[in-house]
Symmetry: C2
Subunit: 381 residues, 2 copies
Amino acid sequence: MATPCSSFEVTSTLGAARTGTLTLTHGQVQTPAFMTVGTRGAIRGIEPHEVGEKGAGADIILSNTYHLWERPGHELIGRLGGLHEFMGWHGPILTDSGGYQVFSMRDRIKATEEGVRFRSPLNGDLKWLTPELAVEIQETLGVDVAMAFDECLEHPATRERAKHSTDRTTRWLKRCMAARQHADRTALFGIVQGGMYEDMRIAHAQEIAELDLDGYAIGGLSVGEGHDLMMAMVQATTPHMPAGKVRYLMGVGQPIDIVEAVIRGVDMFDCVLPTRAGRHGTVYTWQGKRNLKIGRYAEDTRVLDPELPNSPANRYSRAYLRYLFKTGELMGKRMATLHNLYFYQELMRQLRQIIASGDEQALQDLRRRARQASGPAPAGS
Amino acid sequence: MATPCSSFEVTSTLGAARTGTLTLTHGQVQTPAFMTVGTRGAIRGIEPHEVGEKGAGADIILSNTYHLWERPGHELIGRLGGLHEFMGWHGPILTDSGGYQVFSMRDRIKATEEGVRFRSPLNGDLKWLTPELAVEIQETLGVDVAMAFDECLEHPATRERAKHSTDRTTRWLKRCMAARQHADRTALFGIVQGGMYEDMRIAHAQEIAELDLDGYAIGGLSVGEGHDLMMAMVQATTPHMPAGKVRYLMGVGQPIDIVEAVIRGVDMFDCVLPTRAGRHGTVYTWQGKRNLKIGRYAEDTRVLDPELPNSPANRYSRAYLRYLFKTGELMGKRMATLHNLYFYQELMRQLRQIIASGDEQALQDLRRRARQASGPAPAGS
């Protein structure tokens, strides 16, 4: 049953797109929302206050259960007052279940009905991750939203494999629900699976909708299936997810993926793209993605993105930012990452504003601009 | 002859210690001053505004001629409006001459009366650095203070070697003076050499004092000679440097080195220690140096230094900062570096205040505290 620590209210719709407010233990999240990823309880050289309302404008961040469990350990974080206190972010935090990281070890794990057995890459210890432990870790971290522990299906997968895996995910979801000790402060989201089979996704969405969770995610996408197939799956699934609950598309994506999914009724996103791309010298701008390492910027004294005037990276020229990457200065990674976080939050702000105003033309215009932002910036721009 | 772009006024003295104001093209520097090192025109993940008056409180930064000459090239920086514009620091900048880096290549260089020939470690090109080129590079960068190109003597060195080298340094200094094209905006400081020979240092200080430069540095120290010998050289030299000109001890040092040198009449310092130590997880605190990687801090919820309340690193616990280093998160390097910059600027602020107030007892107390800060922090502190 949905728990009192979480509530969601849709305030406006535009077609299937919605804007609303998700209320959690540590505050409110305006949706559509993009969760900045702080994998290890830190955001790649960026301080929490630079991510939040006085910085890029994020309401919520995502952190990774698996990494924090391995190091420094959830018990230690719990003893020090929880993840919020530990990392100095006082707004809402959602954690993944740890399943994605564990299943990524593919050949080195043993997945059974009980859970997943693997050897820690950190120290070689034999470890078990189960639905019960995934909930325990997340509740000990004291996060606002725990994700259910699900089986991460390989892609491509046969219909039979997908069915078997999706059924197990449902059984694990029920075990997660039963394992909760702190439903007063940590919400639980279920995850719709079903591989790339529309009917199976619909059936799974309907099945877990019955369980009345705090929110629902779409998992198992952005695994190499491509934009069109991903959108087909989202479009098939969202109408069968509860309209009154928040909908979260996990691990997505490029600006255009986000806009297309919002148009299909998704409310929340997370993706490593803005931080990972930034570390490697790629920045998102409204003119397109820019690889700061290329010679084209060597003497370009313009700011990164004149259409994103509040970006902290705009304190410097493209020429200087390029130079920082060429010479390996940490400041390059930091400024590019910060810029991308501002870009993504600006995209979400515009989506929320357009949906609230009910302006279909503006939405189509933003769709076009997001497509532009997701490809390479043309020469001369 | 001293140039109009630079002036120095001593406002108070306490024994041989002085406090004063150095006025340069891009602003004033309150002395004693510590110059944060931005080797490559960037300060290791720290933005210029975090170093300056709204941040750690530095009035002036130091950048490295050799590195900027190699990449991106002084001509490029000149075309883009100069180093201030390029890196976004609008206060005074001093550059070294490039000699230190070139002479560090030891076996791979050929030093003649003309200058130094070497192969670029970056691209293998055969290059020459001469007094004339060192001045040209620094003037093209548009810095406030250019350092004369001097010969960097090995340590230890025979008396004969030291004399030969010091005489060449004087000849090169005169060539630097003759090569100036922008004395209206870039000041020139000469460098006292003389190895570890007191009489030679005195003679050289007296000789170049005659040349009426904008400021005078003590070079060739902090090369492995140890604190006591370094202080003996400083103590011998400063009385023979012009009292009305600013005195700069190059590449120094630990907090205690700085306080001892100020007591002997030095006004300016630069050192990579706060940035380099920070990158490697060592922070300066009034209780002593702390290696953030050690287990002692794993569950230490205290702030880094309760006696340095304005340090940005004090937003986080020692336990979290340790965790950031253990897990390789960029934010650890950034916060430790930032903390050290705040620590060094706070040390200088206290020195200026104590000298201005003429409080000998406070100066002795700070000397004791700086000694404490330069050693390891005791357990439990």
